[in-house]
């Protein structure tokens, strides 16, 4: 039965049946064959979507979009420019640091890449950076910032793996900063080798001015990170506070948010949420069947019969998720695969929080790796360059990310020490 389900899903996804529907159709076919009552179809779809922690998704998407329309992103970029623009290859540094801040608010890599890319890539090209490097660095920093909280894929993982969103967010902070610094080092190497320009001289006064301008924007990471880590807010509450803050700042402080922009912003967030939630709903229906058949447990038993070595299994999982991430949307991959592999993860004693971090980072790498590469595609279209041209530079960023991934995989303490410290 497991094979039939797998083949049906893969066949449908290959001919471009939307993934949420493919999961539901597979479930319906199996139920028809086995004569299971179809009343469960609407019931499971409904309860799949009625998933309280996922309310954080539309709210984080909304906060990110409001922040863009409200002029927060531009001020954030200006501040980063004053902060790191004096280094050779300054705009690349600005790009990476801004991505790290931005990730803390928007929670979505494609949104990051689109928002920052449209500001920074034209600026980089104008200053004489090659288009391939500009697109690659934007895409790499946006995808790796996926593990810096808040992260929509992490929220989905936590729900699917039935673990804590807050702990996962905490686990992402140090690795996210680590990935950011490693990318800055690589960019610096490129900048020195190819003589990229220096953005501006370091001036304390300028830093102070741009900081004052962006100070309101910093309230968002403080609300989100501080609120969640300090145990004041749940992820959903923090997301809602971020929405209110972005709205307040946009309307009353920066005065760039116009009321007539609001419907579009709300609608975009709604549709972006619905497409993810449809997969959640379809997966709820299919996983109910899979669990009835004990398929995840059987997969766990089959693999542990071959090897129960945690490190080998982690390596296999890495390869598997990397491959999945190259083809699938990150949310889709998490929703489809995580419920199936969790029994295995528990059985061999991998920490589910650590595993969540690895999975998310892995899928982030997949978003900048062809053939699908949703984020890379976004930055390429902004930079007006083809994917194959960008790959000459992008490959180094991917290799670097793989190096970071291996470190994070085999040194779980890097991820886990912060949640262990704060959640004692």
């Amino acid at each position: 039965m497991g094979y039939i389900i797998g083949l049906l899903v893969i066949a449908m996804v290959l001919i471009n049946v939307p993934i949420g529907f493919a999961l539901a159709i597979t479930a319906v076919i199996i139920m028809a064959i086995k004569g299971i009552g179809m009343l469960s179809v609407p019931l499971r779809l409904f309860h799949g979507a009625d998933n309280f922690p996922l309310i954080a998704i539309p709210l984080f998407v909304l906060a990110g979009q409001l922040m863009n329309s409200a002029g927060l992103s531009v001020r954030l970029v200006n501040f980063c420019s004053a902060l790191v623009g004096f280094i050779r290859g300054g705009l690349a540094m600005v790009n990476i640091v801004a991505s790290m801040f931005f990730a803390e608010i928007s929670g979505s890599a494609v949104a990051d890449a689109a928002a920052l890319g449209s500001i920074l890539i034209p600026a980089m090209k104008k200053k004489g950076y090659p288009a391939d490097f500009s697109a690659a660095v934007t895409s790499a920093s946006a995808t790796q910032a996926i593990i810096i909280p808040p992260s929509i894929p992490m929220i989905i993982y936590a729900v699917m793996a039935e673990t804590s969103i807050v702990a996962l967010f905490m686990a992402g902070l140090v690795p996210g900063v680590m990935a950011g610094i490693s990318m800055m080092i690589l960019s610096y190497y490129f900048a020195v080798k190819k003589k990229y320009p220096i953005e501006e001289k370091f001036q304390l006064r300028k830093l102070w001015v741009s900081f004052k301008e962006a100070a309101w924007a910093f309230s968002l990471p403080i609300i989100i990170i501080g609120g969640i880590f300090g145990g004041i807010f749940t992820a959903t509450e923090a997301a809602s506070m971020a929405v209110m803050a972005a709205f307040f700042i946009g309307v009353f402080v920066y005065r760039e948010l116009r009321f007539r922009d609001l419907p579009q912003v709300l609608l975009n967030s709604g549709i972006q949420t619905a497409v993810v939630m449809m997969i959640v709903a379809g997966s709820a229906l299919l996983s109910w069947l899979l669990t009835n058949e004990l398929i995840p447990q059987r997969i766990a038993a089959a693999i542990t019969a071959a090897t129960a070595n945690r490190y080998i299994i982690l390596m296999l999982m890495n390869i598997f998720f990397l491959f999945a991430g190259m083809f699938l949307h990150s949310a889709a991959a998490i929703i489809m695969i995580v419920p199936i592999v969790m029994p295995l993860v528990h059985k061999v004693g991998i920490d589910p929080i650590h595993f969540g971090l690895i999975v998310t980072f892995n899928l982030g790498i997949g978003q900048q790796t062809p053939p699908v590469a949703s984020v890379l595609l976004t930055t390429c279209s902004v930079a007006n360059i083809s994917i194959s041209e960008v790959m000459r530079v992008n490959i180094y960023f991917i290799l670097l990310a793989l190096g970071v991934l291996i470190i994070l995989t085999y040194l779980p303490e890097i991820s886990l020490f912060l949640p262990n410290l704060l959640l004692e």
Binding site: I15, I25, S269, V275
Partner: protein, 164 residues
């Protein structure tokens, strides 16, 4: 037989009007979610109390957002899928696969409409736990949006094969 009505002016107007209506609904749902969570935070931290219907209401808002948004996403072709392979097929093959995709969606939505309606009628007597609404009304979102998605796919198939 003249099938021009399927892509005539009147049909276009009706379609645009229906979509506009659903867009307002989705805008309202997202707005309501943002506000209701913020109000709950205010109640909890400032007034030290809690809204009794908050969890249930917010959950149902998300469900409605999911399925109404799914109709819009289907209309705009925004659902998450794997286009990379199909894009490389020649156009006639793409037309065929797209038709199969729409047919599959029609089948699953037919199941959702039929059994969703059955579920709705079975549940009309019961109300929700904390809200004064019959639970059947909330479940109605499934057969209604299912019927709309079914309709969109059916119209698209006919349009696709009739256009040229």
């Amino acid at each position: 037989m003249n099938r021009r009505w399927l892509y005539g002016e009147k049909m276009k107007k009706l379609h645009a009007w229906a979509i506009r209506g659903m867009e307002y609904l989705v805008i309202g749902l997202v707005g309501a979610l943002a506000i209701v969570v913020a109000v709950e935070v205010f109640f909890r931290y400032v007034l030290n109390s809690s809204i009794s219907w908050y969890d249930e209401f917010a959950g149902y808002l998300l469900v409605w957002l999911t399925f109404w948004g799914a109709v819009l996403a289907l209309d705009r072709g925004r659902h998450i899928g794997f286009e990379t392979l199909v894009e490389r097929f020649p156009i006639p093959v793409q037309k065929l696969t797209t038709t199969i995709v729409y047919l599959l969606i029609i089948i699953v939505q037919a199941v959702v409409v039929y059994y969703g309606w059955m579920l709705t009628t079975q549940l009309t007597g019961e109300t929700t736990i904390t809200l004064p609404i019959p639970i059947g009304v909330i479940y109605l979102v499934l057969p209604v949006t299912g019927a709309l998605m079914l309709l969109i796919c059916a119209v698209r198939i006919v349009q696709m094969w009739r256009m040229d």
